[in-house]
């Protein structure tokens, strides 16, 4: 009797009544329930956790006994009332009426009742006795009640057959009161009480009247539905409708907003309109409820008004809560766009998947492939100048990575291997790690080579272009351009620097975009150049003779994978502008020598953008064509390229690295911060060169050493401090710096016109020279 609950009694195990999870013990179940479901509304029908006890059956038993008694009473009165009203009272004589009345119920003897049982007043000649026609009891006139004929009719007919129509309920209460009031006045007007004729009413005691009035009320309530209930029912229907439709709509809208085509936009719109209409209806209905009866003469009871206010309030709450969840729909155009974007995304995803599958496959191939090759010259190369090569590798690699790392299969492989290494490391399989690292190194080497080759190719073309351009450019006063474009450059300059300085970009900017990238960066860091990051932001410094190499190897990387439209200007300026600007402000000497060059990049985008743009664009195309041969392994992924170019995918590391982040981050550190940076850049450059020399010496390439040293000297004047070289002692930073520097062949570089200074054309030449090696 006491407990409704305890699921365990019915089923085996400790089942949660809400989620039907089987808990191990009672305590666990209880804890689970409290933890998981305590926030929920516990409308588990008929099941609550706490004890209850019902007295209903007991109550009903007692009530039934009582009700029988009451019902009999009421029915008796009604039957008598019927008898009393069955004849034509108005036309009958008083005596006859009295006779009939006395026959209905025996009247109590006058002598037996000396006092009014209700008020206790003594009966006398003035205070006469009156008999209740319904129960025969005696009361005084004051305590006497009257029942009008319409009321009597209503009561009797209702019990005779409730189906037959009778006096409208709204009239009846008035008629009762009216008749009563009327009766009093008529009584007072009639001089003799004795003569009073009950032709249109029936005398009764308060008790009988009370019982009958209750009965009347019951009858009224049965048929009368107040306005508020009608409105409220409508309101509830509307709310139910909303509860039904709103989730459906939300589902639709979410889907549509995601660019899916599961639902049709028109349908969603229709539904939206429908739901909105229901909301309006709810609002209107609740408002109507709120104002119900406000203009009635006796104003409604305060509680009625409170009820109306509360209903309105809860309706408002309902609308507020639900309406908030209703998202808007895209317009037709927006939807189209969304659809397109979605398709695009999907396609991209597919492609990516394909590409990754492809690369995985290739990786596997390569894995089996590499060892055999490793016996050949590759191994030799690697052994001879492994750090160096890795160092070169950094630039192209990162260049490729910064732009579209997903797209270069080689990179992807590197990437994959990196993650393999990570996994293997995590698994503690050192052997595998070693093999993988070896693979990684090989891959990197290969990639480096590719990149260099590309760079060479590109820079060659670039050099040609540049020669042409230079003539035009020289005519322009670079300085003025410079100034005019200061602001523009302030933003783009560092972007450029960034976009080149991939080492920096990687750790900082790629990190948020894609994890794998970071892994790669880390892995490479570990594998090749632990100090890498220390050299970071300054590396792109252009002033050293060697710099071009680095800088220039960037653009090829850019060129091959970069999208032309968005980053064109950047690219154009990458090789040239960046170095020059710095040069300009820091060292007059360099400036002079570079001025022709500087003119080229600094020629404002406003006027020259087209000129410069076109060549580059062409280049891009060429590169795209020419790039393929270089990156044979790339061939399966031409699509990604083109796609990438057209539409950068949000979240793509490419975008972040090249466009967004650098701009945002660096624009404010614009021209002001330039000078110190330059100096540092120069220092770094010197470092680089020193390191390079060191390495070259180690490798026995004396030839290179010489050239490099020369380049280093070229760099130092810019700084006007020779002791910087002295300061830059061999130390641990070598490797790091070397990473950036592809081994150039100075012999070639001397041949190039721009060698003296960080000249753009020099770079291609150097790179080209190297490839000839």
């Amino acid at each position: 009797m006491a407990s409704l609950d305890d699921p365990g009694e019915v089923r085996e195990g400790f089942l949660c009544p809400l989620c039907l999870k089987d808990l191990q013990s009672f305590y666990q179940l209880q804890t689970h329930y409290e933890e998981e479901h305590s926030g929920e509304d516990h409308d588990v029908k008929g099941q609550i956790k706490s004890a209850v006890r019902s007295h209903l059956s007991d109550f009903k038993k007692h009530r039934a006994a009582r009700i029988d008694h009451y019902v009999v009473e009421v029915n008796k009165l009604i039957i008598r009332l019927e008898k009393l009203t069955a004849f034509d009272r108005t036309n009958a004589e008083s005596a006859k009426i009295r006779a009939i009345e006395k026959s209905v119920v025996p009247w109590v003897n006058d002598q037996d009742v000396p006092f009014c049982p209700d008020c206790g007043n003594k009966f006398s000649i003035r205070n006469r006795r009156h008999h209740c026609r319904l129960c025969g009891s005696i009361m005084c006139k004051k305590c006497m009640e009257l029942i009008s004929l319409p009321l009597a009719n209503k009561l009797t007919s209702a019990s005779k057959d409730s189906l037959s129509s009778h006096t409208s309920p709204s009239q009846s209460p008035n008629s009762v009161h009216g008749s009563r009031r009327g009766s009093i006045s008529s009584v007072s007007s009639v001089s003799s009480v004795l003569d009073e004729k009950d032709d249109d009413r029936i005398r009764c005691c308060t008790h009988c009247k009370g019982t009958l009035l209750k009965r009347e009320q019951q009858i009224d309530e049965k048929e009368h539905i107040p306005d508020i209930v009608k409105l409220y029912e409508k309101l509830q229907l509307c709310m139910e409708k909303v509860d039904q439709k709103a989730p459906e709509y939300i589902r639709m809208a979410t889907s549509l907003n995601a660019g899916e085509t599961t639902y049709r936009l028109e349908h969603a719109n229709d539904l939206r309109v429908e739901v909105q209409k229901v909301y309006e209806l709810i609002d209107a209905l609740s408002k109507k409820i709120l104002t119900l009866g406000l203009n009635q003469d006796p104003p409604p009871h305060p509680n009625t008004l409170r009820l109306q206010r509360m209903i309105r309030y809860s309706a408002t709450l309902f609308v507020q809560e639900k309406l908030l969840g209703l998202m808007s729909l895209p317009t037709q155009e927006q939807f189209e766009e969304l659809k397109k974007r979605k398709e695009e995304m999907e396609r991209k995803k597919m492609l990516e998947k394909q590409a990754s599958l492809e690369s995985q496959r290739r990786l596997e191939e390569r894995r089996s492939d590499l060892p055999s090759r490793a016996n050949g010259e590759v191994v030799y190369l690697r052994r001879g100048s492994a750090p160096l090569r890795k160092a070169e590798g950094w630039l192209p690699l990162s260049g490729g990575q910064g732009q579209s790392e997903d797209l270069d299969p080689l990179l992807q492989q590197i990437h994959n291997i990196t993650s393999f290494i990570k996994q293997a490391k995590a698994a503690g399989r050192t052997d595998e790690v070693r093999t993988l690292q070896e693979n990684l190194r090989q891959l990197q080497d290969e990639y480096d080579q590719q990149q260099t080759e590309k760079a060479i190719e590109l820079s060659r073309k670039q050099a040609e272009e540049e020669d042409l351009q230079r003539e035009q450019l020289q005519r322009l006063c670079e300085r003025e351009w410079e100034r005019e474009r200061e602001q523009f450059q302030a933003a783009s300059l560092h972007t450029r620097t960034r976009s080149l300085d991939f080492r920096e970009i990687r750790p900082f900017q790629l990190e948020p975009s894609t994890e794998p990238c970071t892994h790669l960066a880390h892995a490479l860091d570990l594998g090749s150049s632990p100090v890498q990051s220390s050299a970071t932001p300054k590396t792109p410094s252009p002033s050293s003779a060697l710099e071009p190499i680095r800088v220039w190897s960037g653009p090829p990387a850019l060129g091959q994978e970069f999208l032309p439209q968005s980053t064109m200007s950047q690219q154009r300026e990458v090789p040239s502008l960046n170095p020059f600007e710095e040069e300009d402000s820091s060292s007059p000497t360099a400036e002079v020598s570079t001025s022709p060059r500087a003119a080229e990049p600094s020629c404002g985008p406003p006027s020259h953008i087209l000129k410069e743009y076109n060549p580059f664009e062409e280049e891009e195309e060429e590169v795209a064509v020419a790039g393929n041969p270089f990156t044979n392994s790339n061939s399966p992924a031409p699509n990604p390229f083109s796609e990438e170019d057209e539409r950068p995918v949000p979240g793509n590391p490419f975008e972040e690295a090249t466009c967004t982040n650098p701009f945002e981050m660096d624009s404010d550190s614009g021209p002001e911060g330039e000078e110190p940076i330059e100096e540092e850049l120069l220092l770094q450059q010197i470092d680089n060169i020193k390191a390079y020399i060191f390495d070259a010496k180690q490798c026995g390439r004396l030839d290179e050493v010489e050239r490099t040293a020369f380049a280093g000297q070229m760099a130092t004047p810019n700084l006007e401090r020779d002791d910087y070289i002295g300061n830059v002692s061999g130390g641990g930073c070598f490797k790091a710096n070397l990473d950036v520097l592809p081994p150039p062949t100075p012999s070639q570089s001397t041949g190039s016109p721009g060698l003296q200074v960080p000249d753009c054309p020099a770079a291609p030449a150097l790179a080209a020279g190297r490839s000839l090696l």
């Binding site: 009797m1 006491a2 407990s3 609950d5 305890d6 365990g8 009694e9 009672f26 305590y27 209880q30 804890t31 409290e34 305590s38 509304d41 516990h42 409308d43 029908k45 609550i48 956790k49 706490s50 004890a51 209850v52 006890r53 019902s54 007295h55 209903l56 007991d58 109550f59 009903k60 038993k61 007692h62 009530r63 006994a65 009582r66 009700i67 009451y70 209750k214 019951q218 309530e221 539905i225 107040p226 508020i228 209930v229 409220y232 509830q236 009871h301 305060p302 509680n303 009625t304 409170r306 009820l307 509360m310 209903i311 309030y313 809860s314 709450l317 309902f318």
Partner: protein, 514 residues
């Protein structure tokens, strides 16, 4: 073991059972408080309950289009009101729920009044207590005892509340009580009586380890309510006073109208839920106003705690004009409680100081009353076990130093009691079992009830114990939830003041010195 949930479930069930349609909730004074603790208006509005009426309100309109849910305590008055209501029903149908056991004769008289057959349900739903927090309940009784003994009416109410709690949590517990308190023993017996009488109700699924009801008396630890409490909830209660999760801000100058009364309910206020046990200092910045208040108090309270060991400091503090009357009295009370039996007790001198400071008679009397209420004579357990002053102080200040948070200096005595209880080390000679059977295993489900009122600080203790001891679930209850002020009122209403030897000594001495 979540009391808020238990009560809320009851209310939800009532509303559900009444079906769709406009509803009115008919309550009495106490059940209004009970319901408002677990349901907000907007929440209950969503369930089509639009009106809330008191059964005793005369000005109720006939609204036959409403269903009535009656949630009432089964008192004589309520039954009478209900009988009148049923004779002339104002609503179409009645669902009647009593918050506790109702007698058969009452059911009969109600049934006989229901001539119009408007009653659809008569049930007992045992939500007969104020669910403050998930593991804290109160009965909102202030002044439950006369002297050392129960006020009979309050004993019966407390018994009802406690048995209702047991029923709502479905626990048929073993009972332990604090031997030193007559009131605790009485209550334990009364609860046992009800359990025996209503054995049918208490027939729950047997658990491996039976639940335990521990009945304590506030006089065992009179210090906790005298100290400022440092959690958000406790601080708000201390500074502003929480009544049924409501804070009356009407006294605050310049407060806007809609902030006159603020409801703090963890059920609906996320901030509150997140912060109510947090140390006040941690949340301080979040509520600037309170923070200011708090900072005003902080220095001296800290001082108070740290310097209580030293008479001079107490004296100095007393002379500090910034210390309010009430705080000064509290200070001396704390001192008096610590050094009650100490030979070099200089309480009389302190009392003099109080008098000189102009502290009113009421507070000065309270000092002795508090000692009488919670002094050593009364304490069954050794609140300050070591005898010498230094050690006493050390123990009292235990946790003051070396604890990460300087604001939580005081560990309520309840912590130790519960800790022992959980470890099965609570001494049976101090806290005997009622009846022959004892618990062999360590208890798992524990209900602690403090006659004379619990505190929010103790609620925090329980909260932390629940969190840190797996498998143990504790619910704390009290005749009320105290702050210092209400505790002093409790002491005052117990009528203990002026009867102790010390107090007469104090007055005579101070008189002679003057």
């Amino acid at each position: 073991m979540n009391v808020v949930l238990a009560v809320k479930q009851y209310i939800s069930k009532m509303i559900e059972d009444s079906g769709p349609g406009m509803k009115v909730l008919l309550m009495d004074k106490e059940t209004t408080g009970i319901v408002s603790m677990v349901y907000t208006q907007s929440e209950i509005l969503q369930k089509e309950v639009y009106l809330f009426e008191r059964i005793d309100s005369a000005n109720r309109e006939v609204m036959k289009h409403l269903k009535a849910i009656c949630f009432l305590r089964p008192t004589k008055e309520n039954v009478d009101y209900l009988i009148q209501e049923l004779r002339r029903p104002k609503y179409s149908i009645y669902f009647i729920y009593f918050s506790n056991v109702i007698s058969k004769s009452d059911v009969k008289s109600l049934a006989e009044a229901d001539e119009q057959e408007v009653v659809a349900e008569v049930q007992e739903f045992y939500g007969d207590y104020i669910a403050v927090n998930p593991h804290l309940f109160s009965l909102n009784i202030l002044g439950c005892c006369q002297g050392r003994n129960w006020d009979p009416a309050q004993l019966s109410r407390t018994t009802q509340g406690l048995t209702a709690l047991l029923l709502s949590l479905k626990k048929c517990p073993m009972i332990r009580y604090q031997l030193s308190s007559e009131a605790a023993k009485r209550l334990a017996e009364c609860v046992k009586q009800v359990i025996t009488k209503e054995y049918e109700l208490f027939e729950f699924r047997r658990t491996e380890v039976p639940p335990l009801l521990l009945i304590l008396d506030r006089c065992d630890d009179a210090i906790t309510p005298l100290l400022n409490q440092w959690t958000y909830q406790a601080m708000v209660h201390e500074l502003l006073g929480i009544n049924n999760n409501r804070i009356d801000l009407s006294r605050v100058p310049g407060i806007s109208k809609d902030l006159r009364e603020v409801v703090l309910s963890a059920e609906n206020d996320e901030f509150y839920a997140n912060n109510m046990y947090l140390n006040f200092a941690e949340i301080g910045s979040n509520i600037k106003n309170l923070m200011e208040d708090f900072q005003k108090k902080k220095p001296k309270e800290q001082q108070k705690l740290e310097s209580i060991a030293d008479m001079k400091n107490v004296k100095r503090l007393l002379q500090n004009p910034k210390v309010t009357e009430c705080d000064a009295a509290r200070l001396v009370m704390l001192y008096a409680l610590h050094y009650e039996r100490h030979s070099s007790n200089s309480l009389p001198g302190l009392m003099m100081d109080l008098r000189n400071k102009g502290v009113s008679e009421k507070y000065r009397k309270l000092v002795s009353a508090v000692v009488e209420y919670g002094g050593k004579r009364v304490r069954g357990s050794d609140l300050f076990s070591p005898k010498d002053a230094v050690a006493i102080t050390k123990q009292f200040l235990k946790g003051l130093k070396g604890i990460e948070n300087v604001y939580t200096q005081h560990q309520p005595f309840l912590h130790e009691t519960l800790d022992h209880l959980i470890k099965g080390k609570l001494k049976e000679n101090l806290y005997p079992y009622l009846g022959p059977s004892t618990l062999r295993d360590r208890p798992q489900d524990i209900i602690v009830f403090v006659i004379g009122g619990a505190t929010y600080e103790e609620a925090l203790t329980v909260y932390n114990l629940n969190r840190t001891t797996p498998g143990v679930r504790i619910v704390l209850g009290g005749t009320t939830v105290h702050n210092t002020k209400s505790f002093l009122e409790e002491v005052l209403s117990s009528g203990l003041h002026g009867r102790s030897k010390e107090s007469s000594q104090v007055t005579s001495r101070s008189a002679s010195r003057r």
